[in-house]
């Protein structure tokens, strides 16, 4: 039998790496010429693919791993990496489809908050790698004339991410990241979150009432006045406190950065 061409050989090799039910490709040689010598040797490659991609997922979703435990996480990762191998030859952004995958992953169904915890971890990873930029400080706003504030438009910092969940995702994430003492969790209490990275460290804040509506409107380009009006429809919305929190988190680009991006070139 003629040897397979390189494209054929690699197609069979790649298929057998991902599908453990397929035999190793024909044409593998052994130094000793034993019959069927290559199952375990080929398995080194199979193992490398699944283990290294699973490790990348584990690194990207540390709280999820803590919640699920190593064995459950490894089983889930094994299914995920075969169904969603990386599309780009790099792993720093691997795992983007995991929240959606968890929505439909039967063994995770009893824990419907897991996809939102995964979304929070994904937002943190995106913030970690986001472009570096200065941020708008509270003093910059304080320096403005009060009558100009309502018409002011702000732009989100490249690392800023908003999340809304019908579950207490910030509480759950913090308890599973060693940042809060484990305690009974009321899974019926919804939480919203702001993720930022004003310097080198990713920061996570639980938003106040109306905060998600307010910041979503601002991030979408609404003026401060219009965003506040939208959030005021929600109970207990405190404009000053929400704005101070977001500014303290470094959620916006500086005004001069905004002005320069708006200026016609």
């Amino acid at each position: 039998m003629a040897a397979a061409s390189l494209p054929e050989l690699q197609a069979r090799f790649a298929a057998a790496l991902i599908d453990p039910d397929l035999p190793p490709p024909a044409g593998l040689a052994s130094a000793t010429g034993r019959a069927r010598p290559d199952e375990k040797r080929f398995a080194v490659y199979r193992n490398n693919v699944v283990v290294s991609l699973s490790r990348a997922l584990r690194d990207a979703y540390p709280a999820l791993r803590s919640i699920l435990g190593d064995a459950f996480f490894a089983d889930m990762a094994g299914v995920y990496v075969r169904r969603h191998p990386p599309r780009r030859p790099m792993l720093i952004d691997y795992g983007a489809e995991l929240p959606q995958f968890l929505e439909n992953f039967e063994p995770a169904r009893p824990h419907p908050y897991l996809p939102d915890v995964a979304r929070l971890e994904r937002a943190r990873l995106e913030a970690y790698h986001a472009a570096d930029a200065p941020f708008l400080a509270p003093a910059d706003i304080a320096a403005l004339a009060p009558e100009s504030l309502a018409g002011l438009s702000l732009r989100p910092h490249p690392a800023a991410r908003l999340l809304a969940s019908r579950f207490p995702i910030v509480t759950v994430w913090m308890m599973n990241s060693g940042l809060a003492e484990p305690a009974p969790v009321d899974f019926s209490s919804a939480e919203t979150a702001l993720v930022t990275r004003p310097g080198l460290n990713v920061e996570l804040r639980r938003l106040r009432p109306g905060g998600h509506a307010f910041l979503s409107a601002l991030f979408a380009g609404k003026s401060l006045g219009a965003a506040a009006a939208r959030a005021a429809a929600e109970p207990n919305f405190d404009l000053a406190a929400n704005l101070a929190d977001a500014l303290g988190a470094g959620a916006f680009l500086p005004l001069e950065k905004i002005a320069s991006t708006l200026r016609p070139s």
Partner: protein, 298 residues
Amino acid sequence: MPLSLRSEAALADRLPHRAGVGLKLDHVSEILADKADMGFFEVHPENYMGAGGPPHHYLTAIRERYPLSLHGVGLSIGAAGPLDKAHLKRLRELLDRYQPQSFSEHLAWSTHDTGFLNDLLPLPYTQETLSLVAAHVSEVQERLGRAMLIENPSTYVAFSSSDMDEVDFLAELAARTGCGLLLDVNNVYVSATNHGYSPEAYLDRFPLHLVGEVHLAGHAVDADEAGAPLLIDTHDRAVTDAVWTLYERVIARAGPLPTLVEWDSELPDWPVLAAEAKRAETILNARREPCHGRRVAS
């Protein structure tokens, strides 16, 4: 018209003939605080392809203080399909930004239509493969505007279709493309053990004048179904004595070469990794000619 490159050019802007280590962000604060005496650092460029954040902050700080090698793991130079142009563009941007002394990749493939497999997969050594890999190396060098080093792989299977020796394959690849070579001594030991040939004979035939960098790493010991030794290139422990002995053999023949200790998982504390580099540096220093007492040609 390909760039006119010769393998010597691949070594022109090269790393110092000292020991270095793979950079891990877990170690970087200690490295910077201690002003660690290290010949150079090496990173996988794929880990620095985000827009910003701590990876770029710390790599910039390292680059300001030390020579740097970018050692790619995602280019899939041996894949039958075309090179990933978007990946080449990202590489070009990183090379422009960090101006590393060396850029290297592997004699392997890692991508297929199905996606990125994240492992360095083996190739049959044939004229078909050589033509493909040579064309890819030339294309990379052209797009990146510089010569590169290609590393010998560690392999667990071989192919019945192979009709070239790995050393001959690499030497011919360098002759056709002008690339230099990265000699991974641990990979030589792993592959030689797995396939039952002599690592010494392999190294004694290796074209050391084309080597721009040497790699050392640890491996795991296993056995196949028949009980034959199966070594696995894990980069998760110290370099073994057998590999140190082979390294001494290389340096005795070649003289000092830039030498990197790779340790990529089960990371040790910084002093443990620094000590591995120190051990390599001691071997390099023993082979260095004293700066006084210049030899007189007889």
